[in-house]
């Protein structure tokens, strides 16, 4: 299965990339997606995760075709 991963704001700078495309053979959690994509990087605490533009917990399962996003706490308004 194939998913897209997006990074925003300071996390995009931390990762050094705004997106990754990943292919897996088995089902993964959001946390495992982070580890697969960025194994060598420290995960900044408070990092938020979304699947298809909805907030999710880090143990949520991703499905084929999902868009996963990681980003720091939001600071709009």
């Amino acid at each position: 299965m194939s998913i897209k991963v997006y990074y925003f704001a300071s996390l995009k700078e931390h990762v050094g990339s705004s997106e990754h495309e990943l292919d897996f053979t088995q089902s993964l959690t959001v946390n495992e997606v982070w580890l697969q994509a960025n194994a060598t990087l420290v995960l900044p605490k408070n990092t938020l995760a979304a699947i298809n533009m909805d907030y999710v917990d880090w143990d949520s399962l991703v499905s084929d075709g999902d868009v996963v996003a990681f980003f720091p706490p939001v600071t709009g308004g």
Partner: protein
């Protein structure tokens, strides 16, 4: 109900007038209009700030803003609402966000406006990076409580 993301400076009063003149629902029933306008200050956390860039997550931004409004509608009988938020490069005194809520009674408009503003600040994917007088840049790492 309308949500707009704008990448250039805008006049909130012009936008409100235009919305009221062309799109506003339930006119005769409206007794209360509550507006909140957030503006960029020239200082923050002890530093002079000369500008700001506002990043967002297109698509998720709109989805989460709609969710803010839906939740407010579930809590108070609001008649209509408008949210406009800036993205891109912003200079001090420019408007960052406009929230407008229309209702029959004032308490509902006050409550819903404040609720939407707090929900926006904690859930909608916008990120601010400030430019300081020293030419340094810094990400704003958290919003102040309301």
């Amino acid at each position: 109900m309308a949500i707009k993301i704008i990448d250039h400076a805008f006049d909130p009063y012009y936008e409100i007038q235009r919305y009221q003149n062309t799109q506003l629902d339930h006119l005769g029933a409206i007794g209360a209009t509550s507006l909140f306008i957030g503006t960029m200050r020239d200082f923050n956390q002890g530093s002079q700030v000369t500008g700001m860039s506002l990043e967002h997550y297109p698509g998720m931004t709109e989805k989460q803003l709609e969710l803010c409004i839906e939740k407010a509608k579930g809590l108070w009988p609001i008649l209509d609402s408008l949210i406009i938020h800036r993205v891109g490069t912003i200079t001090p005194n420019e408007v960052i966000v406009l929230i407008a809520v229309w209702s029959s009674h004032r308490g509902d408009a006050f409550d819903a406006t404040r609720y939407i503003m707090e929900a926006l600040k904690s859930t909608v994917p916008f990120w601010k990076k400030e430019c300081l007088e020293t030419d340094a840049e810094r990400w704003v790492t958290s919003n102040t409580s309301g």
